[in-house]
Amino acid sequence: MSRRTAGHASRSGPACEHAVDADRRARRSDITCRRVSGADIILVLVVVTALGFDFTNGFHDTANAMATTIATGALKPKVAVTIAAVLNFIGAFISLEVAATVASGIVDPGAITPTVVLGGLIGAIAWNLGTWWFGLPSSSSHALIGGMIGATLVASGSGAVEGEGILSKVIAPAVLAPIVAGLVAALGVFLVYRIIRRFVIERAERQFRWGQVASSSMVALAHGTNDAQKTMGVISLALIANGNIAGGDDFAVPTWVIVSCATAIALGTYTGGWRIIKTLGTKVVEVRPPQGFGSEAVAATVILASSHVGYPLSTTQVVSGAVTGSGVGRPGAAVNWSVAGRIVIGWLLTLPAAACTAGVMYEIIDLLGNGAGGAIVVCAILAVACFLLWRANKAHAVAPEETISEHAAFGEAPPRPAVVAV
């Protein structure tokens, strides 16, 4: 109990009521005097936009964990996205290491201001929404990194961007990880089919169902652990910059940030980005259960092995590489290389495209005085773009049932309905 409250508690009768009234008046006066500053408005916009990015990250990346499981019919679409959402939520609480190191080694921390963060986030969201519209599984992490680089470049020049960090932390793993995942999945799935070749294939495939569910769940958990933390880091950066929390050795991610980021990514995951699930589960290659198990198990292994040695990876790129590799490894499977090529082009464009959009957004904020007015304008542009995309999506929606392969191993693929969903 505080000293002031203890003092009130010791009084009684009219004297006490008088003291309480005086206290209330003083508090009201404090609230009235503390005017909301432009920095506070920008901070609120950064937090809301960061949670919006987390949401798009969730629905953009649902496919990573569940596309193959849904395609083979091992889990029904809604059940799969529910499991992925719950595991993403849990994953966000497992570790907070990444949250403390987001963007470090990529841009100069001294150059990061709330408006730079806002520009970066809007660039990342725009790229996520654009690739979702075209059903391309691109990396949300690279979109965020690209956005931060673009906004920093425009705000502080090339000296604030750490080229070596980008090369060693982003480019090298981005090139190597999908290739390794693809090669391991190709060889692994080939060996799996060699081991089960003596059995009737439909009978053997049925046995892989639980393996698929387990391996997909691991990918969902790893995704929640890695990706929710990136948004926590961004919000924490803005809170430190605004003086709301301490940085340095006293740094701790506030509980409300952890809970809100976990909730945003889980809700996004539950929404289920059906366009990307359809691409990854049915268009790259027809996925059979041993392939689904193989690609997700290899993806989980590559992600965990890389995390173990400290390499941040894009879950999307690893899973896409593994799914393509599993198609190469399965005897008789035909990989659709034109779709795979489109996905790779999307990866190549992610960093520069998100950087350009973020740079333009930061420039608009800067032109309008680098304050709350500019921040409100760019957020309004983003809101209008989201609304237009939402309206356009209503006319050309992908239904959850369309993400199940026509030759699903479990249950029957239902007829293709014209149902509205994202």
């Binding site: 060693s168 190597l176 089960i196 003596r198 053997a204 790893a222 652990t225 292994t301 173990h308 390499y311």
Partner: protein, 78 residues
Amino acid sequence: MFADIIDWGLLWEAVYLSVAIGLGVLIVGALAVASSLRAEDARAAGREGASVALGGVTVVCVLALAGAVVAGIYLLTQ
């Protein structure tokens, strides 16, 4: 210049861990399925001893996979 920036030792470690554990998990998973199917066949053919032995192999493989999942969750928490 490129070679100096990249920590090839760490990169190589990530690659060989991915290859070794990834292939290991898939092979153990396939062996679990194969032994379980052969156990079913042996039981149907009335070969109880072979069925029990193959069932044991299945259990060992499934336990190994469960161990890999637990190890994975442990790594996530580190």
